[in-house]
Amino acid sequence: MAKPLKCDVCSEPATVHLTQIINNQIHKIDLCESCAEQKGITDPSGYSLADLLVKPESQSAPEVAALSCPECGCTQREFKKTGRLGCGACYETFASVVNPALLNMHKGDSHKGKVPQRALERATFIDRLGTLEDGLKEAISSERYEDAARMRDEIIELKKAMEAAALED
């Protein structure tokens, strides 16, 4: 019958076998039960094969020194070590590293799925409010009082609409 395979981590007899093809290359991993458990892959609900395949990039290009996320402080070194980002803003901060990786991992580089309607409405509200408030200040300082009054009314309307939307929750 089949030859007994050895665990890629500790050389005990392997009982867990994973095969995956990434970019036309076959990756095959054989693990013993305890190493599989340690890697979390005996748990059907919480495993990602990508985690097993992401090898620490030891001989990659010299690291961009001190690139760190202004929002959360996560560094590029940290990201490369763990494969995890620190916060949403990290996607911007480390775009030069993350974006090419995304193309390799996924079917494309832009989102085509569900959009959180409420969040986007809120974001649009807030953007519009900011624009109006800037405009209002500018109008007042340049003594365009008719424009200022119009903008002030619009701000009041907008805030009312935001409150109404919030109350629906």
Partner: protein, 376 residues
């Protein structure tokens, strides 16, 4: 108290009503979501994690879908309780071992669970018995939308839902089914199937020894990519692969029955005998025996209602569940004794298998998943 309500209530996994659904045991969809402008759990300081837990736990628990459900901080659960939740796929091993400022909310029927402060702030999961992407998606979409009314999710127009690991960014969705593929395992075709499926960006996870029928011949098949396609497109791609695998499994079953029915009958007959009479059973042996009996149910050797017993066995032969039934924590060898006793009891009234060399070839007799339940 938590464990009692878990065992007392009906659950999607164990009381699925025995719908005639060979091959696909369950469908599961998971969504990863994060709160905007807040560090991801793996990077966040303790105080931020606590804030997230304190905001999210009540929000999730207040959903109408979670009425009379369970919500708990993981640190308040005993090791055995955590283990049972893991064995029921309600929390991940990662959450169970990383319990600081982590929580879970589980619906009454255990078909929905929401983990808080796992790898992402929220991991929403819906489990349905059988092959039911459509109903799983409808359920999880509704929960996600309801949560979005209360919580601001980290989202970018370009990259979609932002997640701690770039492998989940975009839809944040992992859709999977657990498949029971005994004939492909018996006929040593699993490796070939795994290779073919991987080419299509679909991951197969299984615990299996090559050429042997280990660990119940159960495999999890899921999408590997989350960005660049809509949720519907992802599920459609996954479904078409699943249908091919189901066809291959069915073909393999027919071939085994044509070529060497006695070998199969012997396996199934022995499985029945062992479950009715053994006094020591390891969990992996138990899985394999259950798998063979389930195969027997598909072949109508056992009455359809036996499927329920088997599907429950897959869950209840695991160490945490055995210890719960034993009433206390016990070591491995004693567990084997309890497990055997429990299974003898389950199998006491299961009728002897019928071996009447019937053929599976007629179109109408070939069990297929209910087409109405398939996702489109």
């Amino acid at each position: 108290m938590l464990i009692k309500s878990i065992f007392g209530g009906k659950s999607e996994m164990t009381e699925a009503g025995s719908k005639k659904c060979p091959v696909v045991l369950m469908t599961r969809i998971r969504l990863a979501r994060n709160i905007a402008n807040t560090p991801f759990p793996g990077w966040a300081k303790e105080t931020r994690r606590k804030e997230v837990l304190e905001t999210c736990l009540p929000s999730v628990a207040s959903l109408s879908q979670m009425k009379r459900g369970i919500s708990a901080e993981i640190s308040s659960l005993s090791d055995l309780e955590r283990q049972i939740l893991v064995e029921r796929h309600l929390i991940s091993r990662e959450l169970s071992s990383n319990a600081d400022a982590a929580g879970v909310v589980i619906s009454k029927d255990q078909s929905i669970s929401v983990m808080i402060n796992e790898e992402d702030h929220l991991r929403i999961q819906v489990i349905k018995s059988g092959y039911r992407f459509k109903s799983a998606w409808n359920a999880i979409d509704a929960i996600d939308s309801a949560l979005e009314e209360q919580l601001d999710f980290a989202f970018s127009q370009k990259l979609g839902y932002l997640t701690a690991c770039p492998t989940n960014v975009g839809t944040g969705m992992r859709a999977s089914t657990m498949m029971h593929l005994p004939a492909l395992v018996i006929s040593s075709q699993m490796e070939k199937v795994v290779r073919a499926v991987n080419q299509l960006g679909i991951a197969v996870r299984g615990l299996f020894g090559e050429g042997s029928d280990a660990s119940g011949s159960i495999f999890q098949i899921s999408n590997q990519t989350t960005l660049g396609e809509s949720e519907g497109e992802i599920v459609k791609r996954l479904s078409s692969v699943l249908r091919t695998i189901i066809d291959q499994e069915m073909n393999a079953r027919e071939k085994i029955l044509e070529k060497d029915p006695n070998k199969l009958y012997d396996k199934i007959g022995r499985a029945y005998g062992i479950l009715q009479n053994s006094h020591l059973l390891t969990s992996s042996e138990c899985m394999n025996l259950a798998s063979l009996v389930r195969f027997g149910v598909d072949l109508e050797m056992f009455p359809e209602k036996t499927r329920n017993i088997v599907d429950r066995m897959f869950i209840e032969c695991q160490p945490g569940h055995v210890q719960y039934h034993a009433g206390h924590e016990i070591e491995s060898s004693a567990r084997d004794e309890f497990r055997a006793a429990y299974m003898r009891k389950q199998f006491e009234n299961v009728a002897r298998p019928i071996f009447n060399l019937h053929e599976m070839s007629s179109e109408d007799d070939t069990p297929k998943p209910d087409p109405e339940q398939e996702a489109e």
